[in-house]
Amino acid sequence: MTDGVFNQSERRRQKRDPIAFILECLYSKGRSLVPESYLGEEVLWRLLREVSNVFKPRFNLYQTLQICTMNSIMRTASRCLRSGAYRTAQTNGELLSGWARLMCSSSAGQKTLEELVKKDRVVIFMKGTPAQPMCGFSNAVVQILRMHGVDSYAAYNVLEDQDIRQGIKTLSNWPTIPQVFFNGEFVGGCDILLQMHQSGDLVEELQKLGIRSALLDQEK
């Protein structure tokens, strides 16, 4: 599992100080796209300490078989940070173990997305964020979920990451955004969610997920 992305000088720096190298890569290739509100310096450092614990005993990074190459780690790291998948409410322990799982995946990309959709009970891919949607259809999805009192769900902004945008369309075989997943299963887009809401099916579906819709309480 080698790749010829790093040149001679980069490899020398890598050997001398792996942590600084990782930091540099993340900062130069991924940092500019990291949304400030999600991860601070401190968490980033802890993440990297975890990574370096794995790499310290090994001088030759390209010999590790279980863990994917440096380049794909960088890509995964940047993508995950950019996707804003990690909310600040998560504990650092949870965050780091999630990272360990991702690092061990052999191909960052499709598999990462598959894990993303299964991570939370309700997952949506939208344009913009729930606080600031950038599309009328995405906004409709957010409003419907809000009406039902669903406030803890994962929302990924596809405008920030073209890889996620293309990847999720491939994964669900659905050509448009927004996309809604319940328990890792694709439910549909804005139209379908709206019709489910109007017909009352959405309340049932949420119940199956163990979420009590706020509309049930309103009726009383």
Partner: protein, 145 residues
């Protein structure tokens, strides 16, 4: 004379109700809209079909064909779930969706559902997403070619 009046009214300040009436009288149907109509007509043999170009409601240049709303009433939807119906429509329009059509709002009904509730849904107002989307320029070019 009607077409020049329509051209003057094209800017996005038009109210939704007004544009709904006008679209039915619009003399010029773009190539993408025609293709969509033909494909859906052939594949799904609908009893009722409406294809609306809603690009003027969004942050794209005038005359674009990027945002559509379709209403399909077809007996082929009997026994299919919402998702399956929508997937059927998406499959039919796969080529358009992968090139120039950026958004497709679908209403897929069986003839019974349509006769019991013959209403058209309205699209939510644009929130400017296409302005922030750097892939839109290529998609619009693909539409014009």
């Amino acid at each position: 004379m009607l077409s020049s009046a329509l051209r003057c009214l094209r800017p996005s300040t038009c109210t939704l109700a007004l544009t709904r009436q006008l679209t039915h009288h619009r003399p010029h149907m773009g190539p993408v809209e025609t293709t969509i109509r033909n494909k859906l007509g052939q594949a799904l043999k609908p009893e009722h079909l409406e294809v609306m170009n809603e690009s003027h409601m969004h942050a794209v240049p005038a005359g674009s064909e990027s945002h559509f709303r379709v209403l399909v009433v077809s007996p082929q939807f009997e026994g299919l779930s919402l998702l399956q119906r929508h997937r059927l429509v998406n499959e039919t329009l796969r080529e358009e969706l992968s090139s120039c059509v950026h958004a497709l709002a679908i209403q897929a009904k069986t003839p019974q559902q349509w006769s019991s509730n013959p209403s058209l849904a309205k699209s939510p107002p644009c929130m400017g997403g296409s302005k922030h989307d750097n892939t839109m320029a290529e998609k619009l070019k693909a539409g014009r070619d």
